[in-house]
Amino acid sequence: MKNRCFFVLSCFFISAYASAQNYRIGLGYSFLNNSQWNQTIQLYNDSRPFLEEKQPLLQNGFFLSFDRMLKIENKHPFALSLAYSFFNSKADNVVYVSKINLHTLSFSFNSTKYYLIHKNTPLTFSFGAGMLSNYLERRINPNATINEDYPIRSLGFGPLLNLNFSYDITLNKGVKITPFVQVSFAPYYYSPGAEKCLNLTQGMMEESWNNTLNIQAGLRFSCIK
């Protein structure tokens, strides 16, 4: 897993360095709220008081993003954004370790820079729309007596709306650092197999459709030439 992260991170940095004026990379903390997934994990925990270590909610993670800035002649500039987030939840009991990994990948079109106060102030906002997908898996300890059918996997996808607030800080040598907060909302998110991963049942919770809210706070890096 660490190697995979390192590889992804390296790719981002290399590509950003290669053509820095057109690309920017971001990374930071990601907060996820999918109330139905949370309820399912809560049900899992409530129904298994014998587990000393409870299964934490899938809420805290990190993200990496990669933006390609584009401007078509006489049109408003925009950015194509690819973002990867990772969340995990581990219940580390003495003989039974249950780990849930959530990988999300989003692809979105985002407007660039609307000035929040007046033009040329560093505080800006942007908005966008795209698609969100996820890969959810549950693993148990590899030396478990019966782990033939593990990991349990499921996929989900849905539309995505983004609202982004950022603050540009231009440093020396043309490097720009942009702290930002982005709120993403995925309505009508379809994740039919999530309950199987989260509670080992299917059809006990109400809907395969749900809403996902994601708040990211982090830094974007870009170079200005």
Partner: protein, 442 residues
């Protein structure tokens, strides 16, 4: 850096920290906020009732389990002394490992073995390893609401295949003439527990009852045959045949569907018609297990297709034993026919005769003894387990499982709505579903 920029960074930093802190706090905050503060009576001391009791105990809720027979267990039981290993008299396979019971296995380090043995088929008076035609015709979308037997005939299988179809239906605890091809398929679409069937080196019974049964044993009142549940006032009054009366805020009923169908328990006021109709739409047929011990092993691990018993299994699979024990797993009309003999010896003779025919008289020649467990004759069970009957509909189990007046709750394997009926983990899932419902009631 300007003052405004510094101020912004400070605010943004504090905001991020606050966000992180809030999310971390919620991590283990879960839904442990207790709302319900009353007491609960659980009717039925099987897997669902016992697990519901265990959860209520953990939640600090006062409860009593009323069990009609003289011991906990329901359709799980244990026989010792018959062979050199303890025998599961009732449920003996864990179906799939992706379930709460699979977690018990890991947590309590239970020793299990995958039962993936091959079958021999008794077909047209011959034991053969493969059938001339495949009987894999039921795992398809859009099947009609016909019985397994009728659908097999419609698909062109000859009557010689009927005992084989009977064994398939027997896996569902049903008779092939009553098990719906359509509803079996529809309900199985929610199955999420994995594929393998596992057997326990010790017993399945021990896994459930030595861990959870022991924790609630002090709250179990045995020999309490409930005859009336009066929910006409704020408190629910539960009366037994011996004249005892119990009062509770909520009652969780986990008895087998046969007991609800036969009106052994009177409800005051009567239950809604749609609910009693739903009870009647769920099938539960006769079920019998006969354990037969032989001096030598002459049989295959699975023998499918007998006219007296459609499925015989080698019970030694997964056990640490030198004994040769074969189970006659008899369901549906075959079980009814054997049960009607009203004599264990007559049942054993009928089974031995069939095994002799299959194995040139070796069964009788090596027979050492047998134990008959007839669930049709168990007075508080009267059958095997629930099945998807011809004529039911997709809401049948949901209506049957609906709570009534926010005070009567229904659990047990037949009330499982997520494709896990007929299983122990399915029963346990209804236990926690109903306890969570009770906890949400103010």
């Amino acid at each position: 850096m300007s003052d405004s920029r510094r101020k912004f960074l400070k605010t943004a930093g504090l905001g991020s920290l606050a966000l992180f802190f809030l999310s971390s706090c919620k991590k283990l905050g879960l839904s442990s906020k207790k709302k319900f503060k009353g007491n609960v009576i659980i009717i039925g001391g099987g897997a669902a009732g016992i697990y519901a009791g265990y959860l209520l105990k953990e939640l600090g809720i006062e409860f009593t389990i009323l069990e009609a027979s003289d011991k906990m267990g329901g359709r799980m039981g244990k026989l010792t002394g018959f062979s050199d290993y303890p025998i599961d008299l009732g449920a003996q396979w864990m179906h799939g490992n992706q379930s709460i019971v699979g977690e018990f296995v890991e947590l309590f380090q239970a020793d299990v073995a995958l039962d993936d043995t091959e079958s021999m088929y008794w077909f047209e008076n011959e034991l053969i390893p493969t059938l001339p035609k495949s009987v894999d015709i039921f795992d398809k979308e859009g099947l009609p609401d016909l019985s397994f037997a009728d659908f097999a005939m419609q698909k062109g299988l000859s009557p010689s295949y009927l005992p084989i179809i009977e064994s398939l239906a027997g896996d569902y605890g049903a008779d092939a003439s009553d098990l719906s091809a359509r509803w079996v398929y529809e309900e199985e679409q929610n199955w999420s527990s994995g594929d393998g069937d596992y057997k326990f080196k010790e017993t399945f019974y021990d896994l459930i009852f030595s861990h959870f049964g022991a924790q609630v044993a002090n709250n179990v009142t045995v020999n309490s045959i409930v005859n009336t549940i009066d929910y006409s006032s704020d408190k629910v009054l539960v009366s037994t045949n011996s004249g005892q009366q119990f009062s509770a805020d909520k009652v969780l009923i986990t008895v087998p569907i046969t007991i609800l169908q036969s009106n052994d328990i009177s409800f005051v006021p009567t239950l809604p018609v749609k609910k009693t109709t739903a009870f009647s739409e769920i099938g539960m047929g006769a079920g019998m297990k006969v354990f037969m011990k032989f001096s030598t092993r002459f049989y295959a691990d699975n023998i499918i297709g007998g006219a007296v018993c459609a499925a015989y299994f080698n019970d030694a699979i997964g056990k640490n034993t030198t004994d040769n024990v074969l189970i006659a797993f008899v369901m549906g009309q075959q079980a009814e026919a054997l049960s009607a003999m009203n004599s264990d010896q007559a049942i054993i003779n009928a089974l031995l005769a069939e095994l002799d025919a299959m194995h040139n008289g070796q069964a009788s020649a090596t027979f050492l003894g047998a134990f008959v467990q007839d669930y049709l004759k168990a007075p508080f069970i009267r059958g095997a387990y629930s099945y998807s009957k011809v004529g039911m509909n997709k809401n049948t189990r949901a209506i049957a499982a609906e709570s009534v007046n926010s005070c009567l709750f229904f659990g047990g394997e037949a009330m499982n709505l997520n494709g896990h009926h007929q299983t122990v983990h399915g029963a346990i899932e209804t236990a926690y579903r109903e306890v969570m419902k009770i906890m949400k009631e103010v």
